[in-house]
Amino acid sequence: MTTVLNVPPSLDDKTFETVLEQLAAVPQDAKVLLDARHTRWASPYGLTALLTLAQTRAERPALYVPESDDTSSYWSRTGFFKFAEDAFELHGTVPRPRASTESEVLLEITAVAKSDDVHDVVGRIQQKSQAILVKELNIDAKATMGFAMTLSEACQNIVEHAGRGGWVAVQTYRWQKRLGRRVVVIAVCDAGVGFRQSLETAQGRPRGDRWDDGMALEEAVIRGVSRFRDPGRGQGLAGVRRYIGRWDGKLSVRSGTARIAIVPSWDDDVPLEEKLPYFPGAQMQITIPERIADR
């Protein structure tokens, strides 16, 4: 029997939770069909998380693609269908693949599994990001390199810790509802071992009374703890935190049953959310808003 999971009309990091809530009751080996026919919009997190969801299933899931031509065409331009063709049984009309020439797709959805993939991602983002960040988001030109560094470190989380490949995407869009400004968003999602299991592999790691996904996220994201004994480890996420702090950005990381966020003043998210439906791996989102004050 196939279980139908409804994909919300607007798919982002928050609404993706409704998909996971539906999925929670479904046995791991059951066939699922993700119904995105009525979906009109998706963030890079939403799209990469959908691919990640497919990775977690024992049986290849099915996906009804959006009925709206505009939406499916946009998903195509983000590179989603290039990977979805393998990850899902696709139903509905899939637009012909077309190279993205639009400025909002800073980095098409890209598979990340090894060090070379990170080099590729960093090389490609630098070509496009300078113009977009400076001209459209009013961010200092000096921030461009930091943006690429942030992207590099976020992707390396997959290479170093996930134990399997994931995806990254970078887009800009106008975040009318929450912010009324343009933002650039990095999404890096994998269905690997996740933060808790990764940290559990560290030898001699003291275990307290409380040890769960939330605490693992606190240790890794806030305190820069790594599974490696090497004291030089754990600097990547610390660097990401510094960058988002400098540019008034937001970082959120979901892993297992918890989600942690570094929340800027313009957002009303909670710093730590626990007891979420279990989902393997790590799903990270970095949001940098357009700067207004300097204009």
Binding site: S115, D116, V118, H119, V122, G123, Q126, K142, M145, G146, A148, M149, S152, E153, Q156, V159, E160, P231, G232, R233, Q235, G236, A238, G239, R242
Partner: protein, 188 residues
């Protein structure tokens, strides 16, 4: 003899001839290995210019693998822990974005380097105590110096200057000669 290592060349030779960015730990480890192989072919006492001029992006992971781990191998902060080789480094061509990554990893490990600007001026980057910095900067002004010269120049007691010089030598920020001390990147 001063050796020159162009990091972009080492990157292309050891990892991929299309890359210009120093990103990821495996890349950093491969580049450091390339540097160490070059150093192994040189004499016991070496001063090597590590040149970042043609490097695009440097991320934290690569900075840790290349700069911090290279220094940890050849420098020491502990009085009884003498470095295995008399190897000194001068870092050149460091951009503002490189500096962000380098300072971060140096602070994490309590290390310091001498960085040289394109105009030739030198500066200490990383974790350096006030006396160490004063002594090092005085040495750059004086050229080759003995503890008494530095004591006069800095106003620090001679015994304390000797301690500071020992520490700077172990940290590979100062070179010791029979006739005195010279700051790495300074003129003798």
């Amino acid at each position: 003899m001063i050796n020159h290592i162009d990091l972009s060349s080492v990157l292309r030779r050891t990892v991929c001839d299309l890359y210009t960015d120093l990103v990821t730990r495996p890349t950093g480890a491969a580049v450091r290995d390339g540097i160490e192989k070059q150093l192994a072919e040189l004499g016991d006492r070496t001063l090597t210019v590590i040149d970042f001029s043609y490097v695009g992006l440097l991320d934290y992971s690569c900075a840790d693998e290349i700069v911090a781990k290279l220094l940890m191998r050849y420098a020491s902060s502990l009085p009884d822990d003498l470095p295995t080789r008399d190897a000194y480094f001068l870092f050149r061509g460091i951009s503002e974005s490189h500096l962000d990554a380098i300072e971060t990893v140096l602070d994490r490990h309590g290390l310091a380097i001498v960085a040289q600007s394109s105009e030739g001026s030198t500066m200490l980057v990383g974790t350096v105590g006030d006396r160490e910095r004063r002594a090092w900067e005085a040495m750059c002004r004086l050229g080759r110096a003995v503890p008494a010269d530095l004591a006069r120049e800095t106003g620090i007691e001679v015994d304390q200057v000797r301690e500071v010089l020992d520490a700077l030598c172990r940290r590979r920020l100062v070179m010791r000669f029979e006739e005195g001390y010279v700051a790495v990147g300074g003129t003798a």
